[in-house]
Symmetry: C3
Subunit: 161 residues, 3 copies
Amino acid sequence: MEHHPPRSLTLLILSSDLEKGLAACNLALAALAGERRVTLFFSFWGLNFLKKPGAKGAGSLLARMLGLLNRDHAESQRPGRFNAMGVGRLAMVRLMGRHHVLPVHQGLAMAHQMGAHIVACSNTLQLMGLNRESLIDEVDEIAGALTFLDAADEGTVVTLS
Amino acid sequence: MEHHPPRSLTLLILSSDLEKGLAACNLALAALAGERRVTLFFSFWGLNFLKKPGAKGAGSLLARMLGLLNRDHAESQRPGRFNAMGVGRLAMVRLMGRHHVLPVHQGLAMAHQMGAHIVACSNTLQLMGLNRESLIDEVDEIAGALTFLDAADEGTVVTLS
Amino acid sequence: MEHHPPRSLTLLILSSDLEKGLAACNLALAALAGERRVTLFFSFWGLNFLKKPGAKGAGSLLARMLGLLNRDHAESQRPGRFNAMGVGRLAMVRLMGRHHVLPVHQGLAMAHQMGAHIVACSNTLQLMGLNRESLIDEVDEIAGALTFLDAADEGTVVTLS
C-alpha cells in the first residue's frame, strides 16, 4: 500500500493589497477544508497583514520613517487598484460584507484556528524595525527564507506579490 | 514500464495588466506546444480578461459602482507600468503588432482552441455582480478555489498578481 | 537505495520593483545555501535587473520610446510602493545597508557565482529592442518560455510579478 503524504499549499504574501489578502484567505480556507496542510509566509509589505493596529517601526529614525509611509495594518484594507480615494475601497468592503466574505484579519484568524501555520519573515521584519510584540497573536513563527523553501518543497506554491 | 501523467501548468491570474495577460498567453501557448495540460484560473481584476466589451456589473448599486471604476475588458489593454497617459500603452501595442505578438484576447482564444481549460472564479465573479453572460465564450467553467487547487496539485503553478 | 534528484527553485521575475528584486535574491541565496538548483528567469520589466546602466532600447522609434519610459537598470533601485518621491526609497536603501542586505545587482552576482542559472526572456528582450550587449555579464542564457517551463517542472516555482 502506497503512502501519500498530505498535500500542501504554501502561500508567499509580499503585498498588502486588500485583494491579495482576500485571495490568500480564500485559498487557505479552501485548502484547509480539503485537508491540505497550509503555510502562510508573509514578507515585505505583506507583513502589514500581521501588524497590530498602532504598531510602529521602532529603533532607528529610518525604520520609523518607513513606518510612517507604510501605515497599513491587520485591520486596514485598501485595494491595490481602483481605490479612487476610498470609493473603490468602500464599494469592495461593503460588497464583501453583503456576500459574507470575511475581512482579511478574520479570515486569517479562522485559517489559524483550522491549523494554518502563519510565519513572518525574520529578515524584512528586522528591516522594518518590527518585532514579535508588533504582530498579531496568530503568528506562529518568525523565520527566514529556508523555512519557506522547506514548506514549499512539499506541494503547491502561490505567490501574491 | 513507468507511467508518467502528463505534466501540467496552472496559471492564477489576479491582475488585468496587459503584461500579465501577455505572460499568461505566452506561457500557456508554450506549455500547450510542449504537450502539457493547461488551466487558466482568473480571479479578481484578472476577470477583466474574460469580460465581454460593454459588460457591466449588474445588481446592486455597489457592484455597478465598482464596475464603473473597473472598466477594462477582454479587448482593452493597459500596461500596469509606464502607461504614461497612453504613450507606453501605444508603444507596447504597436511593438507587439510588429513582433507578431497576439493581443491577449486572441492569445486566449488560441490557447482555448489548443485545449487550455479556462476558469472564472465564482466568488469574485459574484462579488463584482458579473455572471456567465458577461463573459467571453471561451470560458469553460465557473468554479471556486478548490478547482484551482486540484489543478495546481498536478504540476507547475504560476501566479500573475 | 532511492535516488532523489536535487531539489530546485525556479524564479520568474516580471517586475522591476526593488522589493521583488530583494525577495528574488534572498530566496535564491537561501536555496543555493540549501543545495538546491536555482534558475532565475527574467521577463518584461524584470529585465531591468539585467540591463547594464545606460543600455537603451535600440532599433525602432517605438522601442526607443518605451526605453525612455522604462529607464531602470541593474543598479537603480525603486520600491514599487511608498517611494514617496524618493523618501521611501532612500529609507529602504539605507536600512538595507545597515542590516547588511546586498543591493540587488550584488545579490544577483553572488547567486550567479554560487551557481544560479540566470536567463533573460528572448521574446520580451526583442520587444524592448534590447540584445545581449545591453545585459550584464551574469546572464547565462537568452531563452523562451519553454526553458522556463522545463526548469519549473522540477521543483518549486515562485513568481514575482
